[in-house]
Subunit: 512 residues, 2 copies
């Protein structure tokens, strides 16, 4: 048993079942060890942004970490943006970052870099192994640390000699850390505040937006407390039978208007709301003047239990009135994100998992699917576009029996377009939808909102994807996916219905 | 004049003429400023790895920095691997990294991250502006710092409010730092050592591999000193009329065999040679036992001047015998990297710039083009695959009158495949060649060499790109490039001849 075997077996003993990988020479012994550890499924991705985004999608759905296998500092860097998103989603991920042999680092070979420096900002925990036995222990620690709470990516740097040298043993299997519930004093204080408030609002984020949290929030809603989720949440159960909270508006001035008159804001597993970006004449903090803020559960505490306790303390009903199944009529005519959303709501089967990186096209689909069959919605938690395809890859690996729907703006989809190949390679049950508006449309809006003025030729050229137009059907088929382009509401409805009726990969370009 | 105008005008005053960009909301004022500064050409890239690789190619050819425009920490991360390569190429680059407004950072909005932490490892110089006037001064400092010597990427973090608030002035125009020549004592000492050596070898890297350095190295070669370049150099003039040094072998055991008997190794603008990776039974340092090492010029010193002085001191001839024009015959039969190299040598016009990211297919082309028409060769200095297409983008923007040839392994090309779109968009005179062997072939070799054993099913799946096969013609045409697939030596010869005979983008898949 070499160090790579010891690390991999320890990961498996601690529940790791998938390894999204783009390896290089320094990871060859880890690659070879995968041949000897059938509990861990290797999944090749052709770019590290796909690797890390897939691990994020996996972790959100499995509730436990996948491993990534990354090639030194540059391999890690390539995966950095989706690890930023994963950090913001509190997704447990164990990065295994290969490095030069310990004795080789001193020579400054071309691939040498400050891996710890690169990885620190997006790692909850980061260690570098110096021996095979230590690497095995650290593998166990890494899984444990990835759970937080709140969870997030962790990084184990594995020098090549720690992988190829003999190990004497595996690392331990560690118990998963448990969530702490807020004290009854906190619950009582907040119950008093809610009773005394005229227009209380509850803001929930992170794990509090899971199945149990949404149910508890529904009870509070039924008691008269307005419930909002963060604008972007890691994973939210939605659709028929579930409570359907509003969400914080993306644009600051709309959020402020929406919250007008609220006199108490109670946070659960989130922070006080803040504008996604700063704008010259708009406040950053989205708490209305005169509104008191209070925290029921800090990040990483058991927000669902806290909301249940609060609902009990307030004497709230045991269940909210469930959201009814409400499927739109067949859309007709010109295709747009609303007609696409209607078709998605109509045909998406129960248990579909939605990976949303559709930027300006995402909200219409979100609104249209409020009364769709029960499904999960995963949003872009960190604002770094390019996670829609990779997160879908990981979700499909985590839950092979569930249909996955990947919604992408064309600008966003190009970031990690390589993920289409992994969907084809692994025959994942993923339907990829790309909204081809041939622009970074959100930036056209933001250019105005930031007061940067009307775009001239240079600025316009930096927001435009239309010259030449990307041929998404060619790109998808070039990576092995069956693909169609839909230019009318009816054709999308038919194509999407067909995709939902079969199992396996498919791709639809929405020609906007 | 707002801060963005002040920064941009200062960059232009200091010689910056191109800005490779993928902006977001926090960069909208900088984008708008590009409308008002016609000296800087904006070039949109659909992924930041293309942005930074293009800036690398630009800097290698222009000898001065381009700016990049990157969106906060995740945008920087996406460009990180090609900045690693640029750091290893000593390429001046000025990264402008947009950030939240200074007052907004405290709220931990979703895109907030430790930008300075992420950017430090690959930045020679890094500063964060706090006011518009300071930003303007820092823009001048940034250009100056990027020249080193040796040069490299620098990073200026530009908070949104420093861009949108009023500036009172631009920053200064600073003089470019000059190179220092080694002392005559050093030259004399090395001349003595060379005279006393039986089998001296000169190892040159970095800027010493430029036009003047190669000429001076040729004089030393004519005097009986064996000359080698580093395995991977930023830019090397080659072909007919130039001196043609050998290069350090990539594989350590071959390098050691090649250097056997050398009793003196003189380094110019490089460090003692080291294996690219460590292997269990192979030394890391590639200096033969008993071989003395000496440094004629440390990194960033004027290596060309040092070699000229050494050649004078040794009484070397004023010129080496020039490398003769030697074009291969028309290749026939089965296509392989050697036949492709022959066709490239036959048809590549004078002044072609080659961007080599072809991994196992690159060396055959390099060997075949030794006697081709005069050209420049840019190699993968940092080992992070995915620079072949972006570097070609930047080289073509820097030198619009020169044909650019981008050579890529299929695995490497997928990393930054989005760069094909920018080639089409800007109608760059770039011919992209992808060697489609449908595998990470180098890793098949390295798996054996590292002693990781024969690949089983899991390991083999991580080295294989062939299931499904990427359809490169579909991918290239999907991004707007005219593309062909060549499966015989003759068809490639004809297709490549046609690409060289016209001006503008083209794409050839080599079906291996």
């Amino acid at each position: 048993m070499n160090g790579a075997d010891a690390v991999l077996q320890t990961l498996a003993d601690n529940g790791v079942e998938a390894c999204f990988a783009n390896p290089g020479t320094s990871e060859m012994h880890f690659v070879s060890a995968l041949d000897r550890e059938p509990r861990v499924r290797p999944v090749l991705c052709l770019f590290e942004g796909v690797v890390t985004g897939a691990a994020d999608g996996y972790g959100r759905m499995a509730g436990k970490p996948a491993a990534t296998l990354l090639h030194l500092g540059p391999g890690y860097s390539n995966g950095g943006a989706n690890l930023h998103n994963a950090r913001r989603a509190f997704t447990p991920i164990v990065n295994i970052i290969g490095d030069h042999a310990t004795y080789h680092r001193q020579y400054d070979a071309p691939l040498t870099s400050d891996i710890a420096g690169l990885a620190s900002p997006n790692s909850l925990w980061l260690r570098m192994a110096e021996t095979p036995d230590q690497a095995a222990d650290l593998a166990a620690e890494a899984v444990h640390a990835s759970f937080g709470p709140p969870g997030g990516p962790v990084s184990l740097i594995l020098p090549a000699d720690c992988a190829w040298s003999e190990a004497t043993r595996k690392g331990p299997a560690l118990a998963r850390p448990s969530l702490k519930a807020p004290s009854s004093d906190t619950v009582d204080a907040i119950a008093r505040a809610v009773r005394g408030a005229v227009k209380p609002v509850l803001l929930i984020g992170g794990a509090a937006c899971g199945e149990r949290g949404i149910r508890a929030a529904g009870r509070l809603s039924a008691h008269g407390v307005r419930v909002l989720t963060d604008t972007f949440v890691p994973r939210q159960p939605r659709g028929a039978g579930r409570f359907s909270p509003d969400k914080m508006q993306y644009f600051a001035e709309m959020a402020i208007a929406d919250l007008a008159g609220s006199d108490l804001m109670v946070m659960v597993d989130t922070l006080a709301p803040v504008a996604f970006f700063a704008y010259p004449a708009t406040p950053s903090l989205l708490v209305p003047e005169g509104c008191t803020t209070a925290t029921l559960a800090v990040r990483g505490e058991d927000g669902a239990a806290a909301m249940e306790a609060l609902a009990d303390a307030l004497g709230a009903p045991m269940e909210a009135a469930p959201n009814a199944l409400n499927l739109p009529a067949t859309p007709t005519g010109e295709i747009n994100p609303y007609t696409v959303g209607a078709s998605i709501a109509r045909h998406m089967p129960e248990q579909t998992t939605v990976s949303d990186d559709a930027v300006t096209s995402g909200m219409p689909v979100f609104l249209q699917t409020r009364g769709a069959r029960p499904h999960d919605w995963m949003s872009l938690t960190g604002g770094a576009i390019g996670q829609g395809i990779p997160v879908a890859v990981g979700a499909a690996v985590a839950c092979p029996d569930r249909k996955v729907l990947s919604l992408n703006g064309d600008g966003a989809a190009m970031y990690t377009v390589q993920g289409l190949w992994t969907i084809a390679r692994e025959s994942l049950d993923v339907t990829v939808v790309v909204f081809a508006n041939h622009s970074y449309r959100i930036l056209g809006v933001e250019l105005q909102r930031t007061g940067a003025g009307k775009p001239g030729a240079a600025a316009a050229s930096l927001l435009d994807l239309g010259d030449p137009r990307l041929d998404w059907v060619a790109l998808a088929t070039g990576m092995g996916l069956p693909a169609v382009r839909c230019a009318t509401a009816e054709s999308f409805d038919a194509a999407f219905a067909a995709a939902m009726a079969q199992t396996g990969p498919s791709f639809i370009e929405v020609a906007l």
